[in-house]
Symmetry: C3
Subunit: 398 residues, 3 copies
């Protein structure tokens, strides 16, 4: 199963169950080809006429690695793959793929689990991706044969509060109260501020006066997704307060994400000021995804004792080229700061491929170090265990 | 000829004639050593005393791969290489090198084909590089045994108009009319705005009032290369209008180019806002070169249905290290969005090495995927064909 | 000793003594585990509870490669390694490690050699790293069996002047005089402006009026490390004057360094304007470290005849992954523009590992090019010699 020969203890450590510390619920409904194609691409638009989103690294990986899990030959044509997937039914396909990932616990960003999400999320791409029926955290666990815990997406909380608060003071109290209430049932908090304002925001906590003024503007049109930087920073610092109080880590989505003015604005390097401000507070910051700025993220993880890093989405989406991405992450990051996530969403294939390419990529990195005599076998096995689950258990207190 | 063993169909697909969708005319005159050295480097300055531009990846590649085409041993010393090149004469050398590239069609940026270019182009580097006698598109085709089509460099058009217009309204009409007239004979348009203003310009179309005001300033000193951002944006949007009307793609030079304030300003990530604004218009945008920001470009190509990408100049200039650059491009880019270009200019060696390193690099990428079982042989052959010529035929309607 | 088989001449060139053109003095005192751990990490903070800075690429490399030099088995546990190091005593350990590096000349940034440094340097991290007893340049040479020369850190000079000058004019005269006096005994100047203000500063020389005004503010609180951009630029241009006068190169620290607002601000691409302004003056500019922006630095080295580049710190800190970093540097950089430095500091292990991973990484790069037939054996040997010592001898006039 692994692409390189490794000593037994190292192989065992790689194949041991993973903690997938950041994923989304996947669709529970039967998916037509057009829907499936849109769900496996970042952009949310159909492929141009005469082309297909299966002609991507991720699409080729679905045909190569997921097809056999559905009893097909490797490299099955897209139409054959999707016909078989429908024939099995989404519950069976999801079960095979989620179990195939070999995960012991899913930590699920449940932003799209609530019913109102479908109707009210005005972000067109999210609606396309997540507007359908997605599995809850509990269902992800049940189908995947794993435990499941919740990660609270703070921008989702804010949206709920904005739509019900009458005056600015209610809004402020509501954000704090709701964050606290939701965090009580969760193992971590997550911000997608990168998609709204980039990561180069003023790292200081905004003044109460500025927040009140911005909240008054916000409440005049609360259906819009939050874009005001003052309120985004207020929300983030409120989340930091809750995280500190409850000993929870804060996930920060970074790297090439849907930032309208450019992915460079989501370079985690831009987060250095905010990360520095958090160091005395002891709140762990987990940089998610980060590609193609994962070297910068690894640098921050080495510089600060409270910073962690993964390349989540990058591994299944770079697919056959994932080994280099993983190896670049390993250039600077301390071994106790690396985490695994599939960043899965939309389709269960992403959970399976996330785990598969993580194992393949790390296997090749470990194999190269063992061949060169750089690491001992015992260290390689120990480090594989740390990255696959040990670090996540420690930082999330699982 | 290829550096890895591949199944016959894949090898054939790699060795099939290429569409070189972005190149420049090369020099037709006999070149002395000083001239040749300046033409093979980016900076346009002679090498420091005691050193030579042959001591670069590109220079080593000339000695390794071009020397045998001129009947010399591989790794011939620079003086021997240039003596033999002169002995054969530039027409014969150009013919051997251009034909050796195995190209079926050259799409040529003809900015420097017009006679006034030599006298009037005040950009010192361009003068050094292109001030001599360069082959026209038709000559590139004739010597290279290939078809040849024209790509219109819009900043060249603007220069011609600025030097003849009397008043601002003439300038505006002239830009539109000249772009339209030149586009009628071309297969695409190209902007070098990255070299003038970077790629972080305001993506909105400038107002007519602002354009008129800027044009009045421009006409007071029209011999200068255009640097005003309002007029550059006006020119770009005028080109978009023409491209949309005629169904032509727009090439955008990106990546490490001669941006006085720094190559990071030409990071294609900064173009995200402009690219987003063009999506509803359906004008294909082709990001040229992009290195070392090709991962960002590949991300945009995956995000947007109208964005295409190549790493043109990077392959012959990274030479022996080209395989990794190509493989990084393949990490995220959809296979139907990748194009080949040599970005050749100055010397025909760049056309030959561009094609050679493209084939070598893709061969290694395909070989690795086949060895790992990631792609099927049929897919590998199909994808090689798409990148080498199929995608270009589709997007340029050749 | 090298990780690949190479022809004898190439191996000999790689194993020949190196010029380490940028390093710091290492500690002469016996180091406890807590001290050692802090010295081998970038951040200067202890590892989080339950973790160790030995679980980093650098830490693993110490156990792998330095342990045998202290008569231990490879991969010795950290406690065993440090016990043996203490047993031998720091003088013996330093001697073995510095001699093991195979260096013929150390060019040492002596900023922390002066006694007042310990008391007065208010930069917390530098105090942690360098507050103890560090070897002088002469001692580095003596222990390492090599010549030793001094590189003048200009920000250190400024601090000394600011603390003694009474009025702004004294300050200006003092900076110029002290730079000139120190440069008379040195082989180069170095700026760490990246750590203070990033590299995107205004490249123009500041006006005398602006400098006087800023100097007056500065003298009101001279104990603070200089952060004012006008004075930093004044200092830098004063250093350029001295460098020009004396024919010395100017080292510029770049890349992921301790820039509070983010490593992207130390991207050498941002230095393009300043580098361009220096081209007519003929002062060599040497970009140090640069990672993860070394491709941008290599591009500048190819563009400008006076720009040189190394990846100093990146090789020992990426350790088992250093080969790719080196190979990325080789993508564009002219062979006559590449230098070796260990960037060693704190512990002599960094000098040894810097040289070791430089040789390993370059060996693999050369081996790959020879296997592919890209370079001749003679060229490979010649280029190894240039990078290892020849280029440094030329640019520093050793």
């Amino acid at each position: 199963m692994l692409p390189v020969d490794l000593p037994g203890t190292v192989r065992d450590a790689l194949l041991a169950p993973l903690v997938d510390h950041h994923c989304h619920g996947v669709r529970r409904d039967d998916l037509g080809r057009a829907q499936f194609e849109v769900l496996i691409t970042e952009g949310g638009a159909p492929a141009p006429p005469g082309t297909t989103h299966f002609d991507t690294p991720f699409g080729a990986a679905v045909r190569r690695w997921c097809a056999p899990l559905l009893d097909l030959e490797p490299h099955a044509p897209p139409a054959v793959y999707l016909a078989r997937r429908s024939e099995l039914g989404p519950a069976e396909a999801n079960t095979r793929l989620l179990r195939g990932a070999g995960v012991v616990a899913f930590l699920v960003d449940t932003a799209q689990d609530t019913a109102q999400d479908t109707a009210q999320d005005t972000d067109a791409r999210n609606t396309r991706l997540h507007g359908g029926d997605t599995l809850t955290a509990a269902e992800m666990g049940r189908l995947g044969g794993a435990a499941a815990d919740e990660i609270v997406r703070i921008e989702r909380i804010e949206q709920d509060v904005a739509e019900t608060a009458q005056i600015a003071v209610d809004y402020l109290d509501g954000v704090a109260a709701e964050l606290s209430a939701r965090a009580a049932r969760a193992v971590g908090l997550k911000t997608a501020i990168a998609c709204r304002a980039g990561l180069g925001f003023d790292p200081a906590r905004p003044s109460r006066g500025a927040v009140i003024a911005a909240a008054n503007r916000r409440l005049a049109d609360p259906k819009q997704p939050l874009a005001d930087e003052v309120l985004l920073r207020h929300l983030l610092w409120s989340a930091v307060d809750v995280a500190r109080e409850r000993g929870l880590p804060l996930q920060v989505h970074a790297g090439a994400v849907d930032v309208p003015l450019g992915p460079h604005l989501a370079d985690p390097a831009r987060l250095a000021g905010f990360v520095g401000a958090l160091q005395p507070l002891g709140v762990p910051v987990i940089l998610l995804h980060c590609y193609p700025y994962h070297r910068q993220a690894a640098y921050l993880a080495g510089l600060h004792p409270h910073v962690y890093v993964d390349v989540g989405l990058a591994l299944p989406h770079t697919a056959a080229a994932a080994a280099r991405v993983m190896d670049e992450l390993l250039e600077l990051a301390p071994f106790h700061k690396l985490l695994f996530s599939s960043h899965c969403r939309g389709v269960a294939e992403s959970a399976y491929l996330g785990a598969l390419y993580y194992r393949h990529a790390l296997a090749r990195a470990l194999g190269a170090r063992l061949t060169l005599g750089e690491w001992s076998t015992a260290d390689a096995a120990r480090i594989a265990h740390m990255i696959g689950s040990g670090n996540a258990r420690r930082v999330y207190r699982l």
